[in-house]
C-alpha cells in the first residue's frame, strides 16, 4: 500500500511539474500575471509530492518490504537501520528519485526566496526548473521505477554493497547531489535571461548566491568522496583521476569559473554572454556527470546501458535539455551583447584570466576523460589516459591560477596598474620563497614549489584583508574597527582562496608520506617514521551483518602511547565480500594510518602509513566551503534588493 502511495505521489509530482513548466512560461510569454503567479505554489506542490514519494521509499526500506524489487535487491533484514535509510538513495532507482527530490526542493527554495524578482523572470526560472524536473521524473516513472513490485517476494534481500555501508558514504550523495542539482538554478536563470532577452547587474546579483550555495555543496561532496576513498579503499590514495571523479570535477571547475564571471556581470555588466554559457555548461556537466557516467560508456560493467531503453532515454533527455538550451543560446545570446569596457590589467582582466585558465583546465580534463572513448570509436585505438597524463597537463595550467589568485583581489576595477598590486605582496612573496626553500630539505623540488605556492595563496588571500584594514599603517584600534565593519563577502573570498592553498599544501605534503608493508606476529614492533607500531593482538568480532578480524596496534613515540589503532577486515555474509577498514589517527597535521591484510601462520600483514599533512587536503576543502558559506551570509548577497535599486548600485559601482 505504502509503495503504491509513493508511486502515486511520483505521478502527482510529474503532473505538478508539467503544470509548473507550462503555465508560468506561457504566462510570461503572454504577459499574464495570474498565470505567472501560479508558479511558486506549483513548485511547492511538486516538492511536497516528491518528499512524500521518497518518504514512502524510505519506509519500504526500513520496514524490509521485500515485495518491492528495489528493496529486495539492495537491503537485508540484518542491515543496520542507518543504512536502511541511506540505502534509499544508495540504489540506482532510489538515487534517481532522490535526484528528482533535490531538484524539486531547489524549485521550492527558489519559489520561497524569489519574491523580489520581477514577475516574468521568476515565472520563467521556475518554469525552466520544472521543465527539467519533468523530464527526469518521467524517466524515473517509466524506466527506473523504484516502487516496482516482485511476486513472490524473496525471504530476504540481497543486501547492499558492503563498501557503501559506511557513514562517510551514507552522507556523501545528499551533499554531492545538492551540488550537482543546485547547478540547475543558475541554469534556469540563464535560460530565463535568454527567454527575456536581457541581462543586467541585478541578474548577476541574484544568480550568484544560488551558484555559491551549489558550489559549496559540490566542494563538500567532492571532498567527502575523496576522503572516503582515502580511508575505505585502504591504500592512502585520495584522487585517482578516474572518469567518475573527473565527472564531478568538471562541473566544479565550470561553477568556479561561473562564480567569478558572475561577479563581473554584477559589478560591471560585462561578460554577460560568457556567464550565461558557463551557467549552461555547469549544469550540462552536472547532468553528464550524474547520468552519462552510468550509461555504461565510461563504466561499462555495472550499468543500465545493458537495458538499452534506459541509456537511450537518458541520452535523449540530455540531448533535449543541453542541446535545446545551447540552441536557444545560439539564437538569443546576440541580444544580450553590449558589455562594459575594461582594460586588460584590471580586476575584470584578472577575472577573465581566471576564466581562461579554469576553462582550459576543464577542457583538458574533459579531453582526457573522453579521449579513450573517441579514439576507440573513431580510430579504433585502445589507449588509457591515467594520472601521469593529468599530472603532466593540469599542473602547469593550475600553477598560474595559484599565482594569480593572490594578485587578483588586490587589483581595482576597470583599469589599474599591475605593479602596485604586486608591491603590496612583497612580504607574501618573501615568506613563500622561504617556505619553498625550507621545504626542499624535506621533499623533492616539485612538491616544494607547490608548498611555496600554497604559502603564497594562503598569505596572499589574507593580504587583501590586511590591505583593506590598513594594518600597521594606522593605529591598531582603527584597523580592528575597520576589520569588524568589513563585509562578510571579503572574508568569504579570503577563506575560499586560502582554502585552496591549504589543500595544495596538503597534496604537496603528501609527497613526504611514508608507508611500509610488514608481516608481523602479535607482540612484534615495527619502527616507521619515528613511531613504534606494536601489534598487540588479533581477535574476531561479530558485526550486525558481518564477521570481523580486528588487529590492535599500539602506536608509541619515545615510549609514550600516542594512540591505539584497530583496523579490521570484514567478511560480509550475504554479499560474500571482504572489505578492509583502515583506521586513522589524525592530529590535523599528519595521519597515522593502519590497514590489516591477510594472515599467515599466526602472523598478519599490516600496511602502515605516516601521511604527513594529509588532513590538510580535506581541511582546505572545508575552509573553501566555509568561505562560500561566509559570502552567502553577507547581507548584501542575501537580501535580493529590489531591481531598480540594484541596478543603480551597479551603475554606481561601474561608473565611478
Amino acid at each position: 500500500m505504502i509503495p503504491e502511495l509513493g508511486h502515486f505521489a511520483l505521478a502527482l509530482a510529474i503532473a505538478f511539474a508539467l503544470a509548473q513548466a507550462v503555465i508560468p512560461l506561457w504566462g510570461a510569454h503572454r504577459g499574464d500575471v495570474r498565470l505567472m503567479q501560479a508558479a511558486p505554489a506549483l513548485a511547492l506542490g511538486q516538492a511536497l509530492a516528491l518528499s512524500v514519494s521518497f518518504g514512502c521509499l524510505i519506509y519500504a526500506s526500513v520496514m524490509d518490504d521485500f515485495t518491492v524489487l528495489n528493496v529486495a535487491e539492495n537491503s537485508h533484514t540484518l542491515k543496520p537501520l542507518l543504512y536502511k535509510i541511506t540505502g534509499a538513495w544508495g540504489s540506482h532507482e532510489g538515487s534517481i528519485l532522490f535526484w528528482c527530490l533535490i531538484l524539486g526542493l531547489c524549485g521550492a527554495a527558489v519559489a520561497l526566496f524569489s519574491a523580489p524578482l520581477p514577475a516574468s523572470l521568476r515565472a520563467r526560472v521556475l518554469g525552466v526548473l520544472a521543465l527539467s524536473a519533468f523530464g527526469f521524473e518521467l524517466f524515473t516513472l517509466i524506466e527506473s521505477n523504484p516502487f516496482a513490485r516482485i511476486w513472490p517476494a524473496p525471504d530476504n534481500g540481497r543486501d547492499m554493497n558492503p563498501l557503501l555501508q559506511d557513514p562517510g558514504l551514507a552522507f556523501h550523495p545528499p551533499i554531492l547531489y545538492s551540488g550537482y542539482v543546485g547547478m540547475a538554478i543558475p541554469f534556469a536563470f540563464a535560460i530565463a535571461a535568454l527567454l527575456e532577452g536581457r541581462i543586467d547587474a541585478a541578474w548577476g546579483r541574484w544568480v550568484r548566491p544560488w551558484t555559491l550555495a551549489a558550489w559549496c555543496c559540490l566542494t563538500g561532496g567532492i571532498a567527502l568522496g575523496s576522503w572516503w576513498s582515502y580511508y575505505v579503499l585502504g591504500w592512502g590514495g585520495f584522487w585517482f583521476w578516474d572518469p567518475v571523479e573527473n565527472a564531478s570535477l568538471l562541473p566544479w571547475l565550470t561553477a568556479t569559473a561561473l562564480l567569478h564571471s558572475a561577479i563581473v556581470v554584477e559589478k560591471r555588466e560585462a561578460l554577460k554572454i560568457w556567464t550565461v554559457l558557463l551557467a549552461i555548461g555547469a549544469f550540462a556537466f552536472s547532468l553528464s556527470g550524474t547520468f552519462l557516467v552510468r550509461s555504461g560508456i565510461l563504466n561499462s560493467v555495472h550499468s543500465f546501458a545493458n537495458d538499452p531503453a534506459r541509456g537511450v532515454f537518458i541520452l535523449g533527455l540530455l540531448g533535449l535539455l543541453i542541446g535545446g538550451s545551447l540552441l536557444l543560446f545560439a539564437i538569443r545570446a546576440p541580444l544580450l551583447g553590449a558589455s562594459g569596457v575594461f582594460a586588460a590589467v584590471s580586476r575584470e582582466g584578472a577575472l577573465v584570466m581566471n576564466n581562461i585558465l579554469l576553462c582550459s583546465i576543464t577542457a583538458v580534463v574533459l579531453t582526457g576523460t573522453m579521449y579513450p572513448l573517441f579514439a576507440d570509436l573513431l580510430l579504433s585505438q585502445k589507449i588509457s589516459v591515467g594520472p601521469p597524463f593529468y599530472n603532466a597537463t593540469v599542473l602547469p595550467l593550475a600553477a598560474p591560477v595559484f599565482v594569480a589568485m593572490a594578485v587578483g583581489p588586490l587589483m581595482s576595477w576597470k583599469r589599474t596598474a599591475l605593479m602596485p598590486a604586486l608591491l603590496k605582496l612583497w612580504w607574501v612573496a618573501l615568506i613563500a620563497a622561504i617556505v619553498g626553500i625550507v621545504a626542499t630539505f624535506g621533499m623533492n623540488a616539485l612538491p616544494a614549489l607547490f608548498m611555496a605556492a600554497a604559502a603564497w595563496m594562503i598569505l596572499g588571500a589574507f593580504a587583501d584583508i590586511i590591505e583593506r584594514i590598513r594594518l600597521f599603517r594606522i593605529p591598531l584600534a582603527s584597523s580592528l574597527s575597520r576589520l569588524v565593519s568589513l563585509p562578510l563577502q571579503a572574508f568569504g573570498t579570503t577563506l575560499g582562496h586560502a582554502g585552496l592553498g591549504v589543500t595544495v599544501a596538503g597534496i604537496a605534503g603528501m609527497s613526504m608520506a611514508v608507508q611500509e608493508v610488514v608481516l608481523v606476529k602479535p607482540g612484534a614492533t615495527v619502527h616507521l617514521a619515528g613511531y613504534d607500531w606494536t601489534l598487540q593482538e588479533l581477535h574476531d568480532a561479530a558485526g550486525p551483518n558481518y564477521n570481523a578480524r580486528v588487529a590492535t596496534i599500539a602506536v608509541r613515540r619515545d615510549g609514550r602511547l600516542i594512540t591505539t589503532l584497530a583496523p579490521e577486515r570484514r567478511a560480509f555474509t550475504t554479499q560474500t565480500m571482504t572489505t578492509t577498514e583502515a583506521k586513522i589517527h589524525t592530529n590535523l597535521t599528519r595521519d597515522l594510518y593502519a590497514v590489516l591484510g591477510e594472515e599467515r601462520d599466526g602472523a598478519a600483514v599490516l600496511r602502515l602509513h605516516d601521511n604527513t599533512m594529509a588532513p590538510l587536503i580535506w581541511l582546505g576543502a572545508l575552509v573553501m566551503a566555509a568561505g562560500g558559506a561566509c559570502s552567502l551570509a553577507d547581507r548584501r548577497l542575501r537580501v535580493a534588493a529590489p531591481k531598480r535599486a540594484a541596478k543603480s548600485d551597479a551603475l554606481l559601482a561601474g561608473r565611478t
Partner: protein, 147 residues
C-alpha cells in the same frame, strides 16, 4: 554519481587489496622505488583506471612481480614498458604515447589556452569604445551621489 563511484569500487573490490605481501618488495630500496615508479605507470588490466601498484587483483600482483624481476635483471624502464606493451598493447600505458592518434590529446592544454585566450582577445578588440555617460545617466548619477 555515488552509484557511479560504487561501480568503480565494485570493480576495485577484491578479497585481497593492494596490500598483499611484504616479501613482494625488492630488497634494494632504490630498485624497489624504481619498480614502483614503473608499475604506477602501468594499468591494471582487470580494474578501472588503477595502476598495478595500487590494485589488489591477482593479475596485478603477478605483473608487479614481473616488473620487479625485470628491474632486478637490470633492464631499463623502456625495456620493461615495451615488454608489457608487447603483451597488452598501448592500453596498458597510463601515460599515453605521443603519436598522431594522441596528438590532439597531448596538445589539448596548449590548444585550450590558445582558443580561450584568442577568444578573450578577439572579443575584447571588437567591443565598442567606452560610451560617455548620457545626459540622463549623469543626472541619475548626480541624484544617487546626493542621496
Amino acid at each position: 554519481m555515488m552509484r557511479a563511484i560504487l561501480l568503480v569500487l565494485l570493480l576495485l573490490a577484491r578479497p585481497a587489496w593492494a596490500i598483499s605481501d611484504p616479501a613482494e618488495a625488492l630488497p634494494d630500496p632504490a630498485a624497489e622505488a624504481r619498480a614502483v615508479e614503473i608499475g604506477s605507470q602501468l594499468r591494471c588490466l582487470v580494474c578501472q583506471n588503477e595502476s598495478i601498484e595500487d590494485s589488489g587483483a591477482d593479475l596485478a600482483r603477478d605483473l608487479r612481480h614481473i616488473v620487479r624481476e625485470h628491474v632486478a635483471k637490470g633492464e631499463t624502464d623502456a625495456q620493461i614498458t615495451a615488454w608489457m606493451v608487447a603483451r597488452y598493447g598501448d592500453f596498458v600505458l597510463l601515460r599515453p604515447k605521443v603519436t598522431w592518434g594522441t596528438a590532439l590529446l597531448w596538445a589539448s592544454p596548449v590548444l585550450a589556452l590558445l582558443v580561450a585566450g584568442g577568444l578573450a582577445l578577439g572579443l575584447r578588440r571588437r567591443s565598442p569604445p567606452a560610451a560617455p555617460l548620457s545626459a540622463e545617466e549623469q543626472q541619475r548619477l548626480a541624484r544617487l551621489m546626493e542621496s
